[in-house]
Symmetry: C2
Subunit: 239 residues, 2 copies
């Protein structure tokens, strides 16, 4: 059992040193210029020197995993005020050539407003940082491509079964903007009337009363009602 450190003498000491390093890695998604983007940091040293990698870092001695993910995001990318959710833990012995590193991956959604307000680029002390279109990525370090694939899968899944899309938008947005987010993440076109009906009948949006002025006909602005954050509306499969 996990907690026999003092109760089964033979075992715990066999594992006390060396222990694996434990890190968190964060897949930070934003929606910018009609693209789903993810933040990557260029590695300054070997291994994988010059390759791009997910932001992340070591978990503090007395720090819980969620806090570690938040802190690393703040430190490396100057991002706070973000939706964070644990994704999966990757621990293949060979995933880092230098040492045994077990990483707890988190995925994060950052609203367009926060992206604009916070100076995200280059805020990292880990080197060059930039956003990459999820459909046009560079070669990634370590097993980070696999982690990213998994995160994208989870994001798509979440989008279909919860109303999470708004987390990538400003607090007020039009239905067309929301549809664009869904289309970009799911990577396929959606029917406008059906999309609107489904979102509106889900009863998670409320009109703000304001309009988005633009080049053409102004669009009604909506916000998500607070109660709707992370609602699970999956229907029952059995009666």
């Amino acid at each position: 059992m996990s907690d026999t450190l003092l109760t089964v003498p033979a075992k715990p000491f066999a594992y006390q040193y060396p222990r694996p390093a434990v890190t968190v890695d964060i897949i930070l998604f934003v929606f910018q210029q009609d693209q789903l983007r993810v933040l990557l940091i260029r590695r300054a040293n070997d291994p994988y020197k010059g390759k791009w990698a997910l932001p992340g870092g070591f978990v503090g001695e007395q720090e819980n995993l969620y806090d570690a993910a938040l802190r690393e995001l703040k430190e490396e990318t100057n991002v706070s005020n973000v939706y964070l959710e644990q994704l999966y833990t990757f621990g293949e012995p060979g995933r880092d050539p230098r040492a045994r590193v077990i990483t707890v991956a988190y995925f994060a959604l950052l609203s367009a407003e926060e992206v604009a307000q916070q100076e995200v680029h280059g805020a990292s002390d880990a080197g060059e940082a930039r956003w990459w279109d999820i459909y046009d990525l560079p070669e990634l370090a370590f097993d980070h491509q696999r982690i990213l694939d998994y995160a994208l899968q989870r994001l798509r899944w979440k989008l279909e079964w919860t109303a999470l899309g708004f987390l990538l938008l400003p607090s007020e947005f039009t239905l067309s903007e929301l549809q664009k987010v869904y289309e970009t993440i799911l990577n396929e076109p959606l029917d406008k009337r059906n999309f609107r009906r489904k979102i509106l009948t889900a009863d998670v949006l409320e009109p703000t009363g304001n309009m988005r002025a633009g080049d053409h006909r102004p669009a009604k602005l909506y916000r998500f009602s607070a109660k709707a954050i992370e609602f699970e509306q999956a229907r029952r499969r059995f009666p």
Copy 2:
């Protein structure tokens, strides 16, 4: 980033010692005597002496997480040939009063056949082991109740969206037996005709041609078709 061990001099050494211990804990579910049961091991020492805990143990230096979970199950409970899936990673600093222990929880489903064949009880060198009805549990050590709650939630969810129930049954089973598994796990009665229709139209079962003799009218036996293992049949939320 998780992998800056050699690239950011200040950080890695700050974390190299002490590192957290990393364990796996396994929630092993079986279906016995019309009950959903979970395997627990009684703690022989403090803390939580006498309390029941999930089986688990330290991850080996060169062992991946899945293998560690398999090995611990084998060592502590003599169980192999089991469905294993990573559940969640729990890492609150205070979850073990002695040391920082981060545990990667796995949930496991064991078929009735395997339960019968393998000598599960007391196979553990960690002390007394027994099955507990999920609806009538003792007080658990550490944060294991929370881990178990989460596992049960995942199991229910899986059951509704995938056809995983058969993993808890023998390789041949009747529809009534399968329904009972679903009812027990979801903790509510299901309609017989609707259940049968849904399972049969899902096209994951095939009749074996055999019949289960019993006290009353014999029942047709089914097996799951191999392709159906862990099929994700979740319908799309958007057209």
